[in-house]
Symmetry: C2
Subunit: 381 residues, 2 copies
């Protein structure tokens, strides 16, 4: 390691200017003791426990009362163990439970992005992250020229990326961490798909390679359990975490305790590993069927890499037509897809499409792909 | 109505500069049809329904899948009916379900506040709203001089305010609406306590008096049902609502469908009205006992108005000491309260305290108030 790289680890983290106005309440720390036995609290605006509804669910009736902004201790512990097993330096006290990982994107954007702040992203990348970063004023710079652009934040989905399905190699992960450390860039690793791995590939988080640097790592229970409960989590390096908690508190006080309790029960159930294995088998065979149908219908119209995990195929059409106008036409024929153009931070590459293979059944997928192929032939004839 | 007032109704609403970068996705509208029967969707990243966990709850298994950003149609309908019965122009298509009403404060702040934006607030007012407005850069102006300051946004809790417990009169509500309309100020009415009314008072929302103007009205199920599920709602005038939905989608996609389903079941249950009446009786008698204990222990140390609803007493001490240092001392003696100084947007008035009377039992409250009185006597002796 060069001396330049070592020194950069201690570079001061740049926050958004709004964070100067984020004052830790002197009261917050003191009030953290109000659960102490014997304490009479006139402090909060808590309903009397007697007035809460009768609760027949399996979860404790505690889920009905206000809870901690960081999340339920038992769930933070479970997430911490999981992240540590992946090499991420995430003790329970630096794990926060989110109302879905989209919320983590808002919190991190709020922490770092002002108008004009350079943010490095893959191109293409998750469109709803681009929307949030744009809202806060981000200027997008290319992840590949990270060192030169001194991005404040680098947002990446290294494992089964949305939309491309790509999985970064071990060397690419090392290189990304090295660049972030060297430039003093905060790594923001979004990792919702990691458990949906159908073939072998390197998956060790980039965040596990960021020792001495600043990072946020986030994951989700939407893909392995259920999206409707809106539950995700993040972990972050020590200089970032307390500010993220203050932002979470200002955002919604805390995440639904009932959702947390249900997910805790599910992930600590002895059947959890078998559930995830079953999920992987199911999606893996769905991917294989999709691959065959794609070859059959689109083999002469587009190119793609077979994704080794995740939920998406990324198509590059032989004809570089804008696929956005095609969508309305496809929908009239009862097929929906995502035009690839929406996933580019700056100038879009035309002739790209994201196809989800997890939701439609085999027959539906075959029919939908045949329809898409027909439309493409009409358009490019 | 004067001509000046009428014209002002058509004044252009000023949004925060970030809203210029909030692009409605052309795809969003088209994708709203993907639930159509027969549609094959490759568009989203939805789990296959077959892979969702077995669901033994009373709610439909739909709650496990992704849902609409605006919230569940049935719950929006119920909220709409309730708001319309209060005179608020809130059809179901302009009602949004929130992950608690704190989230509404973030969304509205995001929609309107840049660095230096003048925001009118009561003084004192809800401290976590002040924190969010401050974070986005608000400059606080006095609600009483609203017309002169041309505030972009006016945040008010007219019914059983936090922290003062005050309830605005009918004339005051009219006057506030008139001023907002006249100045082109957006009214943001926060109304979480309205059902907790122990004595008669005017409660008709200010938002119901804003015909032709811009307004956001929000409420919560935290006080009448349970805070731990994090569920609130907002309604807004037509030119604001679509932008709030885009911001909600960027924030967390949508609110927990399970929380929505549980609250829908509760509020449509035939026993709901009886539940709220029971709650009001319970808190009303708790307030009365608190009042007696206050007179006993603090009658010669402070002044207050008896709140006609809500959850709080607001104390003005005879001696104008800073109550913040007192908190640590009180906590050492097992009593917590909120120093009033935290609730002021600008310079705090010293010698104020907010006491919650809903949570502690009668005996605990008596003991806690006696302890507080002892401390105050020590400090002011």
């Amino acid at each position: 390691m060069t001396s330049a790289v070592r020194h950069s680890h201690r570079r001061h983290v740049m926050f958004s200017e709004r964070i100067d106005r984020l004052q830790p309440s002197p009261i917050r720390e003191i009030l953290s003791v109000i659960d102490r036995p014997g304490m009479v609290s006139f402090a909060g605006g808590l309903p009397a426990s007697e007035t809460l509804p009768d609760w027949s669910g399996t979860a404790s009736a505690d889920v009905l009362q206000y809870g901690p902004s960081e999340g339920e201790p038992a769930l933070r512990q479970v997430v911490s163990e999981r992240l540590r097993s992946l090499g991420v330096d995430a003790p329970p006290e630096r794990v926060m439970i989110l109302g879905g990982s989209q919320q983590g994107i808002d919190l991190v954007a709020k922490l770092f992005i002002d108008r004009g702040t350079p943010v490095a992203v893959e191109s293409p990348t998750y469109l709803a992250a681009l929307q949030v970063f744009r809202l806060y004023g981000a200027r997008f710079v290319d992840l590949d020229v990270l060192g030169e652009n001194l991005a404040r934040l680098a947002y990446v989905i290294p494992t089964f990326a949305n939309p491309t399905g790509a999985c970064a190699s071990d060397a690419e992960r090392d290189e990304l961490a090295r660049r972030c450390l060297s430039a003093g860039t905060v790594l923001f690793e979004d990792d919702p798909y990691r458990d949906l791995a159908y073939d072998d590939c390197d998956r060790r988080p980039v965040a596990s390679r960021m020792s001495g640097g600043s990072w946020v790592y986030q994951g989700s229970f939407s893909k392995t359990f259920a999206p409707g409960l809106r539950l995700g989590y993040l972990a972050a390096s020590a200089e970032l975490f307390p500010r993220l908690v203050m932002l979470k508190q200002a955002l919604d006080l805390h995440t639904s305790r009932l959702s947390q309790s249900i997910v805790l029960e599910a992930v600590t159930d002895p059947g959890w590993d078998a559930r995830v294995e079953g999920l992987v088998r199911f999606y893996s065979s769905r991917r294989d069927a999709f691959e065959s149908a794609m070859r059959r219908h689109l083999g002469d119209l587009a190119e793609w890499h077979t994704p080794r995990g995740g939920l998406f195929y990324w198509l590059r059409l032989n004809e570089h037509i804008d696929t956005r106008p095609l969508l309305a036409e496809a929908i009239r024929r009862n097929v929906a897809f995502m035009p690839g153009e929406e996933f580019f931070p700056n100038e879009p590459v035309l002739g790209t499409m994201r196809l989800n293979f997890s939701h439609a059944s085999g027959d539906d997928a075959d029919r939908g792909l045949a329809t898409l192929a027909g439309l493409l032939r009409d358009r490019t004839r």
